[in-house]
């Protein structure tokens, strides 16, 4: 009898808490979104599975010596995983469309307004009982509006590790929801005739411009915003490897196996922060709400900036492309293309939207640097 009791005490059933059960269900929901709905599966599948592993009673996978503990310590505590991913994103990014039309950079800047507006919102939320966000917390939350996963994880790991799980989940979820969140805002803020505007074809961009661009970006960043250099630096390294054309084999590995390996473990490490004690709180609800707001404001300010620029530009600008300024590459640009086609069957905005889209990646990395410097 005594032996049976002992045996029973080694089971998870005897020790599982309601919180852990809830978080395992949350993990299951993330897996459902990843597999059945194809919402950013590359990240949400490992995150969801990590959430399940992190909430196993008695197994201690997130405690010293556990597999998730090591993965988090090595990859996120050091900041290395998001930085390596960012290098990979740099190696995958073609700045051609932006270089062909530099003004588009402004749209990638305007869309970051969502970040700074949310910063205020997060501080304001402190009036809600049960929610207590420090300035650092608020900054980490607001970066969700940047719609860039690795940037969000990097900033959260520096400023608010306790909120990292919720922030990363929110960031990737909203990035996956771009096709649902953005179109209504786009239609609300533009008229049918605006959506039909055709833009001038982009000029071809020389190889040298593409090589010098990452160098120019890192130089300006180190001179003006050194706190942004970890993110921007790794991004520019990846892009320089790509555009230089002399290290093809390194570029290929960076774009494929390296980014894949790191993605798996980054996902697991993020999932390891989805523990009941930390995730199940009003704060998480606040983060999800704030993230959605940041995202919507970013989309709107991108569109409005595009309308403003259209007023002063001699070449026509379709305001829809402003929505792509939030990053979420390449999903946001594809959504712009689709909404544009709905209004005009022969209006292909994809390449025009790629400019603001990649500018948005830089924009949010810069914004992250500013937050790191100010907080």
């Amino acid at each position: 009898m005594d032996k049976l009791t002992l045996l029973w005490q080694t089971t998870g059933l005897s020790a599982i808490t309601i919180g852990q059960t809830a978080m395992i269900i949350v993990g299951g929901i993330l897996l459902f979104l990843a597999i059945a709905k194809k919402f950013e599966p590359l990240l949400l599948l490992p995150i969801g599975f990590g959430a399940i592993l992190a909430n196993i009673p008695l197994a201690g996978l997130t405690e010293a010596g556990g597999v998730l503990y090591y993965v988090y310590k090595v990859g996120i505590d050091t900041g290395m995983f998001p930085l390596i991913i960012f290098m990979g994103v740099g190696a995958l990014t073609d700045f051609g469309p932006l270089l062909a039309n530099p003004k588009m950079m402004l749209l990638g800047g305007a869309a970051q307004f969502g970040i700074f507006a949310t910063l205020f919102g997060a501080i304001a939320l402190n009036v809600v009982p049960g929610i207590e966000f420090t300035m650092a917390d608020a900054a980490a939350i607001s970066i969700i509006g940047g719609a860039d996963g690795p940037t969000a994880i990097f900033l959260a790991s520096r400023l608010a590790p306790d909120l990292l799980g919720a922030i990363a989940v929110a960031a990737y979820s909203y990035m996956a929801l771009v096709p649902i969140i953005q179109p209504p805002i786009m239609r609300l803020l533009t008229s049918e005739s605006e959506r039909q505007i055709k833009m001038k074809q982009l000029r071809p961009v020389g190889r040298r411009e593409k090589i010098f661009f990452p160098l120019a970006v890192i130089l300006l960043t180190l001179l003006l915003l050194p706190s942004a250099t970890p993110l921007v630096g790794m991004f520019c390294l990846g892009n320089l490897m790509r555009e230089s054309g002399v290290v093809e084999r390194l570029t290929k590995t960076t774009q494929n196996d390296l980014i894949n390996i790191v993605t798996i473990f980054l996902g697991l490490a993020v999932g390891s922060k989805l523990q009941a004690e930390e995730f199940l709180s009003f704060q998480t609800l606040g983060i999800l709400v704030l993230g959605a707001i940041a995202f919507a404001i970013g989309t709107a300010s991108g569109i409005l900036m595009a309308k403003l620029m259209g007023k002063f530009s001699k070449d026509p600008i379709n305001p829809l492309i402003g929505a792509a300024g939030v990053s979420a590459v390449p999903m946001a640009a594809r959504v712009v293309n689709k909404v544009g086609l709905d209004s005009n069957q022969s209006n292909f905005l994809l390449m025009h939207a790629m400019g603001p889209n990649v500018a948005g990646v830089l924009g949010s990395a810069v914004a992250a640097g500013i937050l790191l410097a100010l907080v």
Partner: protein, 70 residues
């Protein structure tokens, strides 16, 4: 907030300025381009269709539809 947003915009304006300079003063090196571009395309092959591809296909589809209506 104001400071942050201003800084972002100011920084990006500067980048725009630099990019315009680059576009103006960098030799285009048109002859050099073909090789690296082709290599790059290969390395992309096997991943998601490049946006050029997507654009080209959309355009083709449109052209086809237009033609059919006639």
């Amino acid at each position: 907030m104001a400071v942050g947003m201003t800084t972002v915009i100011a920084f990006l304006l500067l980048l725009i300025f630099v990019m315009s300079l680059m576009a103006k003063y960098l030799p285009k090196g048109a002859t050099h381009e073909p090789t690296p571009r082709s290599t790059r395309k290969q390395s992309k092959a096997g991943k998601e269709p490049s946006d050029d591809t997507v654009a080209a296909i959309s355009a083709a589809v449109h052209a086809y539809r237009t033609q059919r209506k006639k």
